[in-house]
Symmetry: C2
Amino acid sequence: MDEIRSRISSRTYLPGTRLPSVRAQAKALRVSVSTVVEAYERLVAEGVIHSRPGSGFYVSGPVAPLALAEIGPRLDRAVDPLWISRQSLEADAGVLKPGCGWLPESWMYEAGMRRALRAVARADSSVLTDYATPLGLPALRQVLARRLVAAGIDAPPDQIVLAESGTQAIDLICRFLLEPGDVVLVDDPCYFNFHALLKAHRANIVGVPYTPNGPDLEAFAAALREHSPRLYITNSGIHNPTGATLSAATAHRLLTLAERSDLVIVEDDIFADFETDPAPRLAAFDGLSRVIHIGSFSKTISASLRCGYIAARADWVDALVDLKIATSFGGGQLAASVLLTALTDSGYRKHMEAVRQRLAQAMESTVDTLQGMGIAPWLIPRAGMFVWCRLPPDVDAAATARTCLQQGVVLAPGNAFSQSQSGSNFLRFNVAQCTDSRVFESLAQSLSR
Amino acid sequence: MDEIRSRISSRTYLPGTRLPSVRAQAKALRVSVSTVVEAYERLVAEGVIHSRPGSGFYVSGPVAPLALAEIGPRLDRAVDPLWISRQSLEADAGVLKPGCGWLPESWMYEAGMRRALRAVARADSSVLTDYATPLGLPALRQVLARRLVAAGIDAPPDQIVLAESGTQAIDLICRFLLEPGDVVLVDDPCYFNFHALLKAHRANIVGVPYTPNGPDLEAFAAALREHSPRLYITNSGIHNPTGATLSAATAHRLLTLAERSDLVIVEDDIFADFETDPAPRLAAFDGLSRVIHIGSFSKTISASLRCGYIAARADWVDALVDLKIATSFGGGQLAASVLLTALTDSGYRKHMEAVRQRLAQAMESTVDTLQGMGIAPWLIPRAGMFVWCRLPPDVDAAATARTCLQQGVVLAPGNAFSQSQSGSNFLRFNVAQCTDSRVFESLAQSLSR
């Protein structure tokens, strides 16, 4: 019954769909015929399905609301992206979060935020009360354009669209490019919320194994042949969760493959300011022809301030802005103005230098401690907050996460990041959240079980 | 060629679809066979379609990006919802906007915003830097719950979900409830961005004529029978664009009809604080069983501050929050904290009293002036900023809007609000934006042509 309910929620069975015959269903689900008969009869009693004598069982309408949790295979909660996001977002101050994707409060640009808020409190009345123009605050788009040029990405301000967040930026692009059922390539492993976001668009997600230099190009080429995907979503700069960086050679060959099969690429550059020596950017190589570049400052300035951006080819901007107006009525100037003030504050550069040093130290000590426990980094990241680690043989990451959660430690088990569920032996650590020894005590306890 | 391109963009023709034969197409589009042959050949040359010898013409893949502007019938730009939104959002200070949907800067709660920003600049570090909890700032949800109870809507804080805006609130609900192709009922006329938003969800929009007491119930019942819609989206309190208010009798009968046909209703309460004597709320009658109540303060406190809310039945909250996390990663605390501070500032009540008085005066003088020009209000609204007016016989609102736009006056022609395009003789006036006599001079000029 759960299986059929979930296929109805996930739209695999649409209203009016004829269900497989009892025999076929029994075979497919590897259960007895009588079990299926029983399940079908109960679902009829519930009105979820109905039978047409002599014809079979049909799904009843109307369509059930979209429940992301029920789309696709039921995941162990410990590796369910939405559940992990909630664990981290709901965690109170007492809980330790080595599995979360952001820096501790005290590492963020708090002083700059306070200055920016005081400055904006004195801004023109229109900044405080008006809607923004459709593309978003021009002065911020100019600053972003200059930053992008410095990264080799030639994006004039009128090819930059502000969004409510980096996530909303990707969401707008998915609305623009995807049809339900379209195939989207992601890295395996990749940032787990990509899975949730793509589910919300009812895309078919195909994972491509990630190597220390970027996606495995043979697997990528095979996925292009086999699935003719519409889109590939990846992190540029520092890869989440592996901390790997794309090599120039891989970037070039990846784009050549993409051109051949008319693939659009979304490059999420949210970790840019953590880099010490910048990695190649697909958008720089490609010149924003088939690559869409997005970013935000939730990881460096403030996650409380919601503002992201999209840099895209000129002839896509209007349609993206139409979708933005239709679905969020443009947005406001306030967040953009506070961000602009904080970003152009002379203190931001110093702040990020300090954060990078602090991260480098935290990376070193965390890796040492983990290695001492038999937990081995897949690679030593050049920069950033994440290190992707293999647990000792036969230790299940999900089980470890469950045990540690009982002790108030939120971990990020590998399969939350893995479409192929090949990460059961991995954990992602956020080194900035590993400064409290209780993280390792709880981990050691769980390993010693 | 345009027609076929637009059907491809709008997904009427999906990739792989066989196009109608040249003869059938010629007949359907009422053009000559040779025109269709010519068009098909050019589209083949462009690679938009391809021919299979002896079989016909087929749409080439991949799917074109979603261009809202090309979905549905091509509208006169002067009545295209997205184009009107852009005209108002892009207009510089010199332009007059009697057609826009918000108050002038100087009418907004600027003093409260400045106080709130200064207060939040001193708030705890977490308010300035952290993500919000999944449902959104608890203290704001408590204040909203109290406001709703005062309006007769029993929505405890854990049934209130914060969103980035009122529009994003409706968008989340559409993601939750709608499948592409689902039928959605709207008022005819209704707030024009509902049309754009529903297009983005590829819903089929059906308009129900609006009367001075609410939707025409016979037409509503007929639409339920004919289209079995999934959803009905309407304004509660003061209706946009007509300024009408729902009567208790209509509300009751409407809900009875909705219950019979399992219809979900979204009630957009964004104009609540403009009311002098509150109209009935569907959510109050229904007890949040099939009615979802949404709102924001973009019209009264600030449009620059993005924060809206959803009040919904308890068993829908989790799925809505999952969608919110997947598509905007929860959101921040900053906007919610500024809104909370401004909303609970003792000055807000006084501010709104002044705004209501000012609107009442502007309503009276605007209506007088318009009547003197032969422009007759459909009804005299009890409150709010909008008055829906019939132009003199045979005057086309879209033509009038085009003429006035050349003189820097943005009007809102009736058909932008009308699914049936039955508003060609109507204009919506925002009385708060009609205090400059140039509005009427330009209008008079255009009428005298």
